[in-house]
Subunit: 313 residues, 2 copies
Amino acid sequence: MPSAHDLTAPVATPFEGIWPALLTPLTAGLDIDIPVMAEHCLFLLRSGCQGVTPFGTTGEGPSFTVAERMAAVDGLIAHGVPAHRILVSTSCAALPDVVELTRHALAVGAHGCLMLPPFFLKGVPDQGVIDAYRWVIDAVADRRLRLYLYHIPQVAGVALGHSVIRTLKDRYPDVIVGIKDSGCDRAASLDRADAFMSEVKVYVGNEPDLQVLAAKGSPGAVSGIANVMPYLVRRLVAEHDSPNAAADLQRVQAFLAILGGYGMTAAFKGIMAHLHGQPGWRRVRPPLVVLNDAEHTRLKQQMDAFGIDTATS
Amino acid sequence: MPSAHDLTAPVATPFEGIWPALLTPLTAGLDIDIPVMAEHCLFLLRSGCQGVTPFGTTGEGPSFTVAERMAAVDGLIAHGVPAHRILVSTSCAALPDVVELTRHALAVGAHGCLMLPPFFLKGVPDQGVIDAYRWVIDAVADRRLRLYLYHIPQVAGVALGHSVIRTLKDRYPDVIVGIKDSGCDRAASLDRADAFMSEVKVYVGNEPDLQVLAAKGSPGAVSGIANVMPYLVRRLVAEHDSPNAAADLQRVQAFLAILGGYGMTAAFKGIMAHLHGQPGWRRVRPPLVVLNDAEHTRLKQQMDAFGIDTATS
């Protein structure tokens, strides 16, 4: 079990270890609950995570405005989360909004940015995806920028093909440092790892792939499950060749099988509410829907049977 | 052929006639070219359209920030487009942004608002879609609000099922006045028309359905093709039972067959550049891509053969 590490220590670029895809706690008015979010970040950092990744898909990122997201990042830092341990997902449909979030992340000293392609229009050509990333990188024009590409085509509706990654890495070798791979298509993930791992680190977004991608050299994960079981996710990266890895992987799969019976983010938040005794964690912003009481009761029973210890799991 | 109508005259609610899904012209810096956009609106209104609909899908709406969209609506009005002939598409992934655009539309006296469900997260339940519309309607809390629901699941990734429409209409009978149906599934559109037309007007977004939906009582369209052939689209609504309608419909289908060889919005903009002799119209914002010169030359030849007269088509 990892001990607490020195949060002021520098972070390697590209990063190593676990940077959970942060859930976003909400107030009764469905605004971001910044103190609770910061408390969760500090809990994860104390639990061996190297950093945190706010506003990805699990974190309902695009459900929040640019102003809400900037205020939350500022708030996390004000509450003691070290800026260099925050990887900000800057994804928006409108590129000037991505530029604003990226500039803000750099201004506050965040580790880097995680960026989806614009996700409203569908069937766009690779050239359009390349142009979108170029728009942001050229507009920001800041040599401190470290960008992680975010591949989750089943949600974004837009994929990052090899030619997109290749073209961007060739043009911006110092900026493009990683890919968060949440494609949930293992064969494609292994292809991507073979094609790019030596130049652009591939990070795991789909936890069943933790072990196989770690074996390919993946140095870490931006994981939803790490919100509730950071130690388990960390072991599957750091000790992927240990004899215990098979049992850990089975546990990941059993957990996902339970979650599959619910909306993913609502279920994660229900588990947070249960584990930490904070009912407010259940809230989601529309278009997501809170688990109803019957679902929440069933999920709690399933979690009690599954067994999560927040100090060791 | 319709003559120019009195632009100061009141507009019925729900609207009748053609409110084109406005293309968004861009400057060399890929900002919205407000003077050209206003000129295009006034051209369409002089060509018998009853109003205009900025920032839908054809208009690349979500590619523009809230501030850009509000400035453009203000600019159209400043350039002489009557506010009550503007139906503002307010669609954003973050609901507070939709609220801001909706309040602005009401403040400037727009005819109404066209709203997509939040379009980032996928697989969301009907209840979540209902909650999203309720969020906006309740936050705006303005009895002037007239809302048109926007159904285009193949792009938004989120459909408006009958239970969503039913629930919203029952709860907000004065607010929910129409549906823009761009689902491109005729059987489903006819079902929707049968279920709702007497209470919630169904407007055509997919032009091959103009005649059949007009026969079901659809009073108009929010049409991309109307940017370039407003008279044709108008006839297919107003004279759907004329003997000439079959030939008009064939023309729509022939036009769409040509467009199908290109990216839709880029092709529309290429046609605008050609018809109006304004090369700047070709520009699109990423993730869309401008037609390359070979494509543009081919499209111009196809349009010359097809034959569009901006004064009569």
